[in-house]
């Protein structure tokens, strides 16, 4: 019996007993879909997370959870680590071992077009060079109040150069707290397929203005006495009646200023980019000795590896449960198959009478079974691929 004839008869039989065939195919597809999807998603997740970690040599931040620090430095939209100060960035710069890139992520934007707010990342120009982020539309950061947005955000919020976006206060009930800042969207980043596509970038100083550390307001020298609490030759104390500017414009930009020493200004983390292996080792040594009580320096690859070990354990559990469900499905399919053969006893007997060997009958039934298996596998693989495309970002957002 040729395979062509076996396939022909199998197709006819499957289409005739289509209810049974569809049930078997769906059972197989569902049983296979879960482990394949988990494997695909975890592989994709593993590749993404490792690639970004490998591309980030060192992250320096306040002492505390090394996982929170590393993930925040890599992905921004995660649990905030304890804040460190700009002094850490300046220290790294002064050692000459690495190029420091401060990152300050404390605020989010307000929702736009029914899209929830996204993290505002305050950083320096070096970050864009470090991550090789190009501008697809508009231009990069140039003055206070400018922001460039990731391509995914631009698409979802329908924003582009020339639009405005507001920062969201951390506590809406704190009347004495910082005001929302209206930022100018000056550019949209080219797609990088990384978390950078989902955040709003501002200069670190703009981030501090959002934080309330820097501000701009009307000139107080000639202000009405009604808004002043105290005025001496050297010092002016204004009342709350003097409102800070909530938008940075060419007219008021010169009035923006910071109080205090920059070394004390908060940042979330510093990405350190050592020029070579020796400097990397030396910098790590500094944070294990003289700065061990003040800050910590983590290697993102190590932290991510620790995290992946947890993921692997979850993966093992999923595999185990999938194995159990596959065993149950296999037993059920065996039952269905044996009952089906019993129901088709007359047909099998007829074929035997006509001259069909037991081997040929086995080939016919096996062909049907293999076709159902192939269809089940095809559906499972296609479903897993679709899930990996659709759900990959969702899975990442669940984890971070």
């Amino acid at each position: 019996m040729s395979w062509r004839n076996a396939l022909y008869l199998a197709v006819r039989s499957l289409s005739w007993y289509r209810g049974r065939a569809i049930t078997v195919v769906l059972c197989l597809a569902l049983t296979l879909w879960l482990p394949i999807t988990v494997r695909l998603l975890l592989n994709q997740f593993r590749e993404d997370i490792i690639a970004r970690a490998v591309a980030t040599p060192l992250i320096v931040g306040a002492k505390g959870s090394r996982i929170d620090l590393a993930l925040h430095g890599l992905y921004f939209d995660s649990v905030s680590p304890d804040q460190t100060t700009m002094a850490e960035s300046n220290y790294i710069h002064d050692t000459g071992f690495a190029t420091p890139i401060p990152v300050h992520v404390q605020y989010r934007t307000q929702s736009v077009n029914r899209v929830a707010g996204v993290p505002i990342v305050g950083t320096t120009i070096e970050y864009f060079e470090f991550r090789k982020l190009g501008v697809a539309a508009g231009h990069g950061l140039s003055v206070l109040g400018d922001c460039v947005i990731g391509c995914d955000i631009a698409a979802r919020m329908q924003l582009g150069p020339g639009d405005r976006i507001l920062s969201a206060p951390r506590n809406a009930f704190n009347l004495a707290g910082n005001y929302p800042l209206k930022m100018n969207v000056v550019g949209v980043l080219a797609p990088s397929h990384s978390p950078d596509d989902n955040v709003v970038f501002v200069d670190i100083k703009t981030a501090w203005i959002i934080d309330g550390i820097g501000h701009g307001h009307q000139a107080l020298k000639n202000a009405d006495d009604g808004v002043l609490l105290e005025k001496t030759d050297t010092n002016v104390t204004a009342s709350a009646a003097v409102l800070p500017f909530t938008e940075i414009t060419p007219d008021n930009i010169d009035s923006f200023h910071f109080h205090g020493d920059e070394d004390g200004f908060p940042i979330s983390a510093v990405i350190a980019q050592p020029s070579n292996r020796k400097n990397r080792t030396l910098l790590l040594g500094r944070y294990l000795t003289e700065r061990r009580d003040i800050a910590q320096c983590v290697k993102p690859t190590e932290v991510v590896q620790d995290l992946l070990n947890i993921v692997f354990r979850v993966e093992h559990l999923v595999w185990l449960s999938s194995l159990l469900s596959a065993t149950v499905t296999a037993l059920l399919l065996t039952l269905v198959l044996s009952l089906s053969i019993r129901l088709r006893a007359v047909e099998i007997r007829t074929m035997h009478k006509l001259g069909c060997s037991r081997g040929t009958i086995a080939v016919l039934i096996s062909t049907e079974f293999l076709m159902m298996c192939a269809a089940g596998i095809l559906i499972a693989v296609t479903g897993a691929w679709l899930a990996s495309v659709v759900a990959a970002d969702g899975l990442k957002s669940l984890l971070f």
């Binding site: 019996m1 040729s2 007829t350 009478k353 006509l354 040929t360």
Partner: protein, 231 residues
Amino acid sequence: MIEIQQLTFTYPHGSFHLHISELAVESASVSAVVGPSGSGKTTLLHLVSGILPIALGKILIDQTDLSTLTDAERRRFRLQQVGLVFQDFELIDYLSVIDNVLLPCRIGDAVALDDATQRRAEKLLEQSGLVDHIRKPVTQLSQGEKQRVAICRALLPKPAILLADEPTGNLDPTTSGQILDLMLSSARENNTTVMMVTHDHSLLNRFDHVIDFERFLTSSEPAPAARGTPE
């Protein structure tokens, strides 16, 4: 020619016993096999067709001794030389009319499934008045139409022997007559030897010979040859 010599058959788990000392059926003859239920008529057809193996005795078909053939050789012989028609048609529900007729070509390599075979199948169905039903599922056919499809399936490989086991048993008298006409005319046209089991004695005048199993049951003498036993 079909020759049976000292044939003895018993089923492994049963008291049934068939013994035929001698029986001969001429080539291209048309014989009816009659006898009470349980006398071994169907068993004889299964032995002649090679469905059942021969333990004792001989069945010679045109000098081929079936008792010396292996299972595979008997299957090949059956596909090439024997056409089978059953009382309950035994068609495959999930195949169309034409596919049921072509089934012997698909389940074995004894008969090639080529254009000529396809045309022959269509011609047989045309002769049987089923030309309008070629692509229909067999489940949509009447009982008489189903039996006609079964006859076409049996005749497709141009068999030397056509064995029919009560092919009209489930049919009304009119349809029975039509089915018999079709089967016998096709067989005579192709010089096919026919052995047909029947309980309908009104049909016996249509046959050249009658093999009466009553004689095997009541007599310990060798069975008479079908040859020269006109009813």
